[in-house]
Amino acid sequence: WSLPIKSVFVDFPGDIIKNMTDIELADNYLKKFGYIDIQRRSGLDSVISTKALKKMQKQLGLKETGELDKTTLEAMKQPRCGVPDVAN
């Protein structure tokens, strides 16, 4: 019987894209592209705002679920332009 292959993930030195949690990734994305107004935001929100997610989903033509679903996460990982989508 063959054993299932177990992949071992390695932290490559100098790899700029850190292994972030989905929440961290989404938070970072929404801030960077203007969906969360970082100047008005108070403290550290651990929960991603539904409003910001819906705004992002609308801008990118995704289904407006307001949730951090698989499609939204995939979209956040796609190569893109660095100019914010929402003026901030």
Partner: protein, 566 residues
């Protein structure tokens, strides 16, 4: 579509741009061409025109950078953020930055322009066959000097067409060494280096010394990217080491093992575990043309669109046959209006006369010369030195004492002629010292002695004195011309050159300059200078020196043998 708050836009339609540096991923000629095409996307549908500047401050300053590159918006390594640009305005506004941790291509894998060899600088053809083995990248197989090469057709064994691939063993770019190749090993701050390095630089670009000691000579250049070089990681620009060992297993090709993101990587030393040196493997890359066209949209005043098929949609996707989406057209025309007429009229009716003969400035009627009979057996190959050579309508023209031959751009079509100069351009004298075609208006300027003529289709202006253009009376003839950008042309005479603003018909200040200072490596008194297929040619006697867009002499040859194929 969306525009920036306050509808930010340029207050002039003649927008300028300047390319500050290049990516090592592609030849500078290919990069320049991608930018020209990207600007054309927008100029085709608006009254905007784009002119390239080679110095000074342009509206749109274009640069490649990595991570922290001088503004407050750092890039993030390979993939993720590709580029950004600022809306129109002063300073950094209007500028476009491209992440050089990306692999820049035309969207379908490595774009490798060859040098030397026998393929006239053609692109590599991947895959190609050599000794019945397929190659997907440049190789040094079959060579003792380790120089990477490729075939420019699918089958080297059959066609024998090849060229050398970019390599630091052949040349460098930028820096201060005039494109000289690297010298290995070289010394830098007392340490010896056997390969290109990014040590000593904060921008991560790989460089080398072009003499044995950088410490002593301070001569350096940047290393061109090899198509097999890794991207990012901690060994950017180095080559994969095959085989390499990773977690006790040997790998002969790139692998995604050990990564959660599925990206292919390789070790750049024999053992990853020991050295921890790695990088991501080249992929299809991102189309510089598509990304640049998007960024230039921002630089002109467009924000991101919500339409997936639009160019201004924020995410990258490769499109084979690109055409601008209706949404983008509406957006840019909202800012600048539509293109009301052709900007490049082939024969603009600037001289409204029914008589093809116009008079010169002294109101002397010019004479029409009777076409001289041409001996059809006259062979261009029997001419020792031509009066002048120039490209008109993409075809090389060889002038000699009242007749000319032309060579269609497909050089295998052979030389056509001879033709009588007086048949096509009746006002011209027999001897033409130099000529050039204004690429914008398609007017053709002819120089003979101290006079010049301008042909617009069949209409002619001249002869006029070259002094009218601002050349000094001491100049007896103009011996060469190179167009620079949209409305400048360099005129050569003796050991100097002047820069003419074609639009204003005035010489720019700060000239003449010595030819050998600005164009290192060419004869300082060329008797003919012309431009053809992006290269500048300097002729002396029967030879020519070809200078590429990086101002490197990449070929010295014989006019008759190499150009005319006699």
């Amino acid at each position: 579509y969306a525009t920036f708050e306050g509808d930010l836009k340029w207050d002039h339609n003649d927008v300028t741009y300047r390319v500050l540096n290049y990516s090592p991923d592609m030849d500078s000629f290919v990069i320049d061409d991608a930018f020209v095409r990207a600007f054309r996307v927008w100029s085709d549908v608006t009254p905007l025109t784009f002119t390239r500047l080679f110095d000074g401050i342009a509206d749109i300053m274009i640069s490649f950078g990595k991570t922290d590159h001088g503004d407050f918006y750092p890039f993030d390594g390979k993939d993720g953020l590709l580029a950004h640009a600022y809306p129109p305005g002063e300073g950094v506004q209007g500028d476009a930055h491209f992440d050089d941790d990306e692999f820049w291509t035309l969207g379908k894998g490595p774009v490798v322009k060859t040098l030397y060899g026998n393929a006239e600088g053609a692109m590599c053809h991947f895959p190609f066959r050599f000794q019945n083995k397929p190659y997907k990248h440049c190789t040094s197989e079959g060579r003792l000097d380790d120089l990477p090469w490729c075939a420019t057709t699918a089958d080297y064994d059959k066609d024998k067409k090849y060229g050398f691939c970019p390599s630091e063993l052949l040349y460098t770019f930028g820096g201060n060494a005039n494109g000289e190749k690297c010298v290995f090993p070289f010394t830098f701050l007392g340490m010896e280096y056997d390969s290109c390095t990014s040590e000593g630089r904060s921008d991560g670009f790989r460089w080398c010394a072009t003499t044995k000691s950088f410490d002593e000579d301070k001569k350096y250049g940047f290393c061109p990217g090899r198509d097999t070089a890794v991207i990012g990681g901690n060994s950017d620009g180095e080559l994969c080491h095959f085989p390499f060992i990773f977690q006790d297993k040997e790998y002969d090709s790139c692998t995604s093992e050990g990564r959660g993101d599925g990206k292919l990587w390789c070790s750049t030393t024999a053992n990853y575990g020991q050295d921890k040196k790695w990088g991501l493997c080249p992929d299809r890359g991102y189309s510089l043309f598509l990304v640049a066209a998007h960024e230039f949209g921002h630089a002109l005043g467009l924000e991101h669109s919500t339409i997936k098929e639009a160019l201004m949609y924020p995410m990258y996707s490769y499109v084979e046959n690109f055409s601008l989406h209706k949404d983008d057209i509406e957006g840019i025309q909202y800012l600048y209006g539509s293109n009301t007429g052709p900007k490049l009229t082939p024969n603009p009716p600037i001289y409204p006369t029914t008589d093809p003969i116009v008079t010169d400035s002294t109101d002397r009627p010019t004479e029409t010369t009777t076409p001289l009979p041409v001996d059809p057996s006259q062979d261009a190959c029997t001419v020792t030195i031509f009066d002048s050579i120039t490209a008109i309508n993409g075809e090389l023209h060889f002038f000699k004492n009242g007749i000319y031959w032309r060579m269609p751009s497909k050089s295998n079509a052979g030389v056509k002629g001879p033709h009588a100069i007086s048949e096509k351009w009746p006002q011209l004298p027999a001897v033409i010292d130099t000529a050039f075609e204004d690429t914008v208006t398609k007017k053709i300027y002819f120089f003979s002695g101290t006079k010049f003529w301008v042909y617009t289709g069949q209409n002619v202006m001249g002869p006029r004195s070259i002094e009218k253009l601002g050349l000094p009376p001491s100049i007896q003839k103009v011996e060469g011309a190179l167009q620079r950008g949209k409305d400048k042309v360099l005129l050569f005479s003796g050991d100097s050159y002047w820069r003419l603003n074609i639009k204003d018909q005035k010489m720019d200040k700060g000239y003449p300059k010595y030819t050998d200072v600005a164009f290192g490596g060419v004869p300082y008194k060329a008797h003919d200078v012309f431009q053809y297929k992006g290269n500048s040619y300097f002729c002396q006697d029967r030879s020519y020196w070809r200078m590429n867009s990086r101002r490197q002499v990449d070929r010295v040859g014989n006019v008759k043998n190499d150009i005319l194929k006699c």
